[in-house]
Point group: C2
Chain length 199, copies 2
């Protein structure tokens, strides 16, 4: 089955609508979606940023918040601008990376995005992540323990380093073969590439 | 007739595919396209940039060049990465701004974009702009003289200031009522907004 990798960060606003719609869009196209969480912070710091570009470039930030509100309305998705931005998605990303190829990962990731961008909850709080795991039908304490193990920490560091080595500088990204498509609004083009232009 | 404003800059890579396709896409939707040239340089300097963000953020720049190549291929548009970037579009923008609502403006603007992003010509050269005017059926010397008049210079300065006051920070932008849609890839969303969500 043909596949697209979906590289996302739990603190990234545009990763939220992407996560909400990519599964259904890919399923309709007969394409497997592979969820690949990573940490955007280290990649931004490597570019010289000490804060989110959306905080650093205020005009761009103002546009982004309005754009998200509008894009979610057009997609029929609930949306609330978080009171803290960016939120720390480290714990959520460790859980998601360690279990990225499990069948319950999409339900967990979707719950985390909703906690951040709809319910305005602190996704760095283990109780919030625990609730998201329960929503995905999993036992919170067992999985959070596994995700805090040095092996799981290293797995996320390696995956973040791989994101960097693949040329990523933002989130989300869709990856088709060796091609990167940056942004929620590029999912359709990634599918088009897979269909018509991939070798 | 419902209308969309198309705010563009002749040195901006993503303005090229937008200019190449926006006319036909809007005509098919029964929407008037209003061409609004401006200078991006002053808006970037106001954000603290001393060069194009695509030169300053190298990873983003590398992605952008590949993305343009790919996007133009998918659209069936010719494309060549310019040997100089960004090129100085001041003269072209003065001509375009002074004559922005004429029926020949789209032909002129399209010729300028092709000179920059297909033929790798210096669009700051009056001979190049003259050839673009001839392509649009106009007399080069008369129009270039008019565009160099203080009134025409002030018209472009005012339009650039208006771009800034509308919250623009990049190019191209589509404007529907008071809403900005940034990027070539947002034309369809701007039309969707005009159709379903505009008051």
């Amino acid at each position: 089955m043909r596949a697209i990798e979906f590289w996302f960060e739990f603190g990234s606003p545009y990763s939220y609508p992407a996560a909400a719609r990519a599964g259904a869009v890919c399923a309709a196209a007969g394409v497997e979606l592979r969820w690949r969480p990573f940490l955007l912070g280290p990649l931004l710091r490597a570019q010289g940023y000490t804060d989110s570009p959306f905080n650093f470039y205020q005009l761009k930030g103002r546009y982004m918040w309005r754009d998200l509100e509008r894009s979610c309305a057009l997609l029929g998705l609930p949306w609330q601008r978080p009171s803290v931005f960016p939120r720390n998605g480290l714990l959520a990303a460790r859980v998601a990376c360690r279990f990225q190829d499990t069948p319950w990962l999409p339900a967990f990731a979707t719950a985390v995005f909703r906690a951040n961008f709809v319910d305005d909850h602190d996704i760095a709080d283990p109780a919030v992540i625990g609730a998201c795991l329960r929503e995905a039908g999993q036992d919170p304490q067992t999985l959070i323990d596994v995700a805090q193990h040095p092996d799981a920490k290293r797995q996320l560091r390696d995956q973040t380093e791989r994101a960097r080595s693949l040329g990523m500088f933002g989130a989300p990204n869709f990856r088709v073969g060796d091609e990167l498509f940056w942004g929620n609004d590029r999912l359709e083009q990634a599918l088009q590439w897979l269909e018509h232009a991939a070798p």
